[in-house]
Symmetry: D2
Subunit: 441 residues, 4 copies
């Protein structure tokens, strides 16, 4: 069967690259993946998947960092103009851009879930001639939106897998659930899909990423977890006053914010493991001669465990509140993103490593990758594990033209067919059972 899969992948290779470049051209940021998601839904449906999208697969209240209504609508219109699938797109309106396609073989077997993220970054793509997408004319047409983290390739991989599974359906068992998630950047989208129950019936869950410092042909199947994280917007609202004439009447939001920032960075490290905090952005004040009445911070906390992240969050919260009190300034903290930590399942990791070994093109199987970034697939992994299932996070190496999140980021597209082949092989070959024998189906 290995050979058959290889052959099938070879046949759709051009299509895979075409898909990737189309997604790249119409890059859409988190929560506005209207065109992207509607086309995915349409294709999955065509291939015989049962497709659910929008509010069916997203819990409204646990979406995080969703832009304002006006912007959502403006982007919705843009997507329509850029060829969104009109049959599906209305379900996605107002930032409900998740899509889940399920292929039921009708035969007993585990439910295997795969997750692909769809959003681009808020980044202006390079127009330099040396940038491959410039040469090949598929740079992003959307201002300050760019696929600079490989999600365009992830979706191509997802569609590739979907089409192969559809074709192989009669020789497969169990169910396959392909989850296309919005707003991974800023860890904003996964929680909402989990809360909507999309992984509740999943026995085996695999999330994947390309690049991350690994080389082409390298398959990273780690047993290490991600740092838990919370993303926050903090605002301080004080009172303006003329800095020369009556400084005592001001309530200085900038000094409150500066004090909060310094003291947040001075939070004691935690003896149980890594902790991080960053005030990445601070904007305050309206004029040189005015006591600043406003300050806004973009903050993130991280921890080796969810508990450590909560410790950082709780200390941060107290510091913000107190810094506000110190300057008689109102404070507000808004959570705009979050992800727990989650360690991959040992058994599943072992199985995937073993299976991947036999895939042609996989030259090296390793354990760690350059990360430190956050990943909200951990919400899905955690839920699956809580329900007794298994979860893993794998990386397919590829040659990068620049680091992730850089305006000149690009990949070696060979990773796309390789990832499709490897993942299909891993989830369809039953000499090594994915599910350990002590778990009934």
């Amino acid at each position: 069967m290995n050979n058959r899969i290889s052959e099938m992948v070879e046949n759709i290779k051009d299509l895979l690259i075409e898909w990737r470049r189309d997604f790249h051209t119409y890059a859409e940021a988190g929560w506005v993946e209207f065109r992207t998601a509607s086309l995915i839904a349409s294709r999955l449906s065509t291939w015989g998947y049962e497709v659910r999208a929008g509010r069916e697969v997203m819990d409204e209240s646990t979406r995080m960092g969703v832009p304002g209504q006006a912007y959502l609508e403006e982007q919705f219109d843009r997507a329509l103009q850029q060829g969104a699938d009109t049959e599906w797109v209305s379900q996605l309106r107002f930032g409900f851009t998740g899509v889940v396609g399920t292929l039921d073989t009708g035969r007993p077997g585990p439910t295997i879930g795969l997750r692909f993220d769809m959003d681009a970054l808020d980044l202006q793509e390079s127009s330099d001639d040396s940038h491959f997408p410039v040469k090949e004319r598929f740079t992003s047409v959307n201002d300050r939106m760019m696929h600079a983290c490989g999600h365009d390739a992830h979706m191509a991989i997802g569609l590739g897998i979907a089409s192969l599974l559809a074709e192989l359906k009669d020789s497969l068992n169990g169910k396959f659930k392909l989850i296309f998630q919005p707003a991974e950047e800023g860890v904003r989208g996964a929680k909402s899909m989990v809360e909507a129950g999309v992984v509740d019936d999943v026995d085996i869950f695999i999330s994947q990423h390309i690049g991350l410092g690994a080389e082409l042909g390298e398959f990273v199947c780690s047993d290490l977890g991600f740092l838990a994280t919370t993303k926050l917007n903090v605002s301080f609202q004080g009172k303006a006053a003329h800095a020369g004439a009556n400084p005592e009447e001001g309530k200085n939001a900038l000094l409150a914010a500066a004090t909060a920032t310094l003291n947040m960075h001075a939070i004691s490290p935690h003896s149980s493991g890594e902790s991080r905090i960053n005030v990445g952005v601070l904007h305050a004040g309206t004029g040189r001669n005015i006591i600043p009445n406003k300050a806004e911070l973009q903050v993130e906390t991280r921890g080796a465990t969810t508990e450590i992240n909560e410790y950082m969050y709780e200390r941060m919260r107290k510091i913000v509140q107190a810094a506000g009190d110190m300057y008689e300034v109102e404070t507000h903290i808004e959570e705009v993103g979050a992800a727990p930590t989650c360690t991959p399942s040992e058994h599943l990791v072992a199985v995937l490593r073993k299976k991947a070994k036999s895939v042609k093109g996989i030259q090296k199987i390793t354990n760690t990758f350059t990360s430190g970034g956050s990943e909200d697939a951990t919400y899905m992994m955690s839920r699956v594990k809580e329900n007794g299932g298994q979860a893993a996070y794998v990386v397919f190496g590829t040659t990068l033209s620049a680091v992730h999140h850089n305006e000149k980021f690009d990949i070696d597209e060979e990773v796309i067919p390789l990832a499709v082949k490897t993942l299909v092989h891993c989830i369809t070959q039953f000499d090594t059972p994915l599910v350990p024998s002590n778990r009934g189906e």
Copy 2:
């Protein structure tokens, strides 16, 4: 003669208001008063003044806070389209927007200098129906430029005085020098004109302002000085790094800026008089998960004396430098505005008070006004006093619809003819000599 002046003012009252509203309509911010200044130069010239403009009356290197070339050129084009006087405007190009008109009576006598400021604020004018300029259709046509501090009226007053003096020329002695200064907001323009020598031959110098909390009919002729001030832009240039993956590699410009800000505000007060510092604006960072590599501050210092202001400046400078060193971050301080302190000349103040008393419409003569703002006319006052001359700063009260620098700021235009009448009366009536007898002419 008092009656004659009153009559003359009455005759040009409509014109005064027309001028003011035209300046208001085509409000131009500091250093881009191309249309405004060119029209003033043109009128002064028509009335027989010897007019000098541009580089002749401005020292290039001591202009402060001048915008970039591209913006200057863009605004120059705008001014051309809005009816700038083509004969004069080319001299003003690239931000040399000062104009000086001299009327030489040919008879011995003191040189009397008057200064009028021309720039609008970076403020979007209200479009509310309750706003008088909306009703009368003379709101600013220029985006984010608005005369909300009365400089439009100042220029109308200046032109009114100019026309009267021209008409009265044969009955006057000495010289009259009318100085139209750009970029008073942010105290950026006066120094450059002083350095070009425009007040070096002035014996009597008077600067004036309208409003400032005084009521219509009130003439404020104070013997109090302004706070000296310096306006600064401070930048910190560090090094970005991923806040989760390798925080130790970042050079945190935001923490440097926050530390600098707190410690600037903690500078010891000075026992010799008032001191002030304000970090009015702080922008730092590029993303939530990136160690911030950039921070920019808008700062001002003030002092009851120039020495105290220098003490504040020097302490500020050390703090910025050290905060940079603390985080291994490059720092840069750019001076974008400055004004010394200056106390009015006692004798001149006394004379002006006495003369104003006899002007019809002046109902109250007072000593102090609501200020705390800065004023770079003090550069001119200081230079005149250094040369042995006398200087004063007077305020004409008027009813305000909103405080200075507010988007709904407006005035009672009656103040314009009243100010013209009073000032012409003060500088032309010789029963009380403006120059004390111990100073030769």
Copy 3:
């Protein structure tokens, strides 16, 4: 009478100096002036004054910065051994060391109050041979207690005046109230005597000081007020933890104190006049490797007016509380001293200046002195003025060997007889009435 006073002073000159040196030898710090006060009470009583002391002239609850009971008792024993007057000292026990002597002439007339402060500083006197008290063998026998601010001379002046008034009684009118106050250093003692009502019947109140930068023969009779002030001890109580093993368990009192300190110094200045804050002492922590669980600060606020001082106090209070909350640390603020501001009465100042002019030895009458220090005589001045009386604060210049509060501070003792003569002259000569005619007696 001027001559008679001069003669009388001449006669007691040696005694005045003897008294001063005795007080200097047995210097006693604030609240433990047991020997000093008991001897003063005894002498006043001998001279026919009605003497009240201890709880009769001090309100217990408004004493500030009183040491602990054990220390008070230890010092009480010391005073007994050093010759305290056994008849009076028991009334003074436990830190009630105020003494008031009243001389009632029996004739109608104003009640004139004079205030003298009695406490020494917590300072080790120099044992250097160049120090005059060393040479003349009257250095302090009490460890870390030294009269380095001239209060020893103040008391000699007070006793001198007392003895003269007693002698002159039959030719005088009204009442004379001599108030000997403890604990002026740290502005701790005056409030308590005011609250006990000791100046409630005073029509004319004069407080005096020697030195303060004025030269011998200079009489400073100012119409300027002192800065209002509050003295505070601030403590932070956190939780210790091993800094290497479990830093997250500590509640860091030192970081709370450092944050409070920086932000206190960054309180906005007040547009109505001078403001000051100083964290003069900070002690925190118990060991290098322990998260500090304790911090103690000595703080003072000042203001040109009582309102400005209250503004500083209130801001300080909020900052301390918030810094505690920020680190989950308990805070406590104890007020250990305070003085309001008070401007001398114009009329009284004018009269005193006029009267002093005719005193032989007074060579110069001036208006200002080097101060910036605080003075709780303002409590008495304020109360007298509130009741419709008049108050002044005068300074007698003298040559100093070192600045006030220095271990080598010493004075030219000639100031003592001169001050006695001048003050007696001022309060007994009725050619210029001290009380303006529109105030009945």
Copy 4:
């Protein structure tokens, strides 16, 4: 031979306890272990060891945190009075309190080094009846010096081992080097002995500790390292000024120190492993109304690796320097203690675990202990490993009455004979070679 060792230990058990209690009674802090070290030298010498002490085994310039000369001399006198061995003590004068005894069997074999620390803590021992040393009358006679970390027992163990080895000499091979080190608390003493070369010829090095949270009968033989650490005293020297009268003249050392402290705690964590910093003590200022001219900090840095500790140190250094510059204050950093990190040698750890298993009384062999404290035995371990030798750090559990460094700290003395027995067994039994076969001798 196991039995013979057990028997020998049983015979000296009372002596071991007597030694420990004697050391406990005459507790001596770091660098003043004059009595302790002289008695040890004397005993080793008596048993036939070649003994070197003082400058022979200590490099003068790399001793850290040595007290001032006057204190050293005062303590030297105290030690003489408390029975220091007069033959040896003079070599130890001025803080050269290290002792090394070498037993050369004359037969080929490895040189085995054992290290024992001798210093007490600066702690006042409890006088509470519940405290065992109170009941048994061996509490410390020296004020603020107490063995509250078990070094008294360490020395008893060292002497016990020394006496056994001497007795067993004829049946042993190689050399045994017993190193008695001063000033382990504050990690001040080891470096100096290493620099003097005392471990340069050591093939196998073992350091040991008792307690640390392990229970009696537990033998902890870890392959984990300690955190590297540096201990620092930081001082700021500014300029005093009166806080009310002329605050601008002060150079505020307290604000410099507070700023340094906050920013030190805000140093970015390091992605390669744990990092720590603590400002444990801060003393600043001389009086409430004086701008503080002095501040002193006790600081420590730590890191999972020596490189991370150096990163923390270097950041700390820059922050201190910059905080000084910010307030125009002189800064000085004195290194008063340091220890690198060091991981035990895998082979040696494995061998010791295996050998210990057969010792009667050892009930449990474990891998980790509660630490987080620092340990400068790592200097010795590092040097031995650099030279190709092997090093380990072992812990003997014992029941504690209170945590380490507590005034009621006490141990179950049964640990002493057990440790002697175990260590002698480990270093003398050659069925499992301590030295791997690929290292020739």
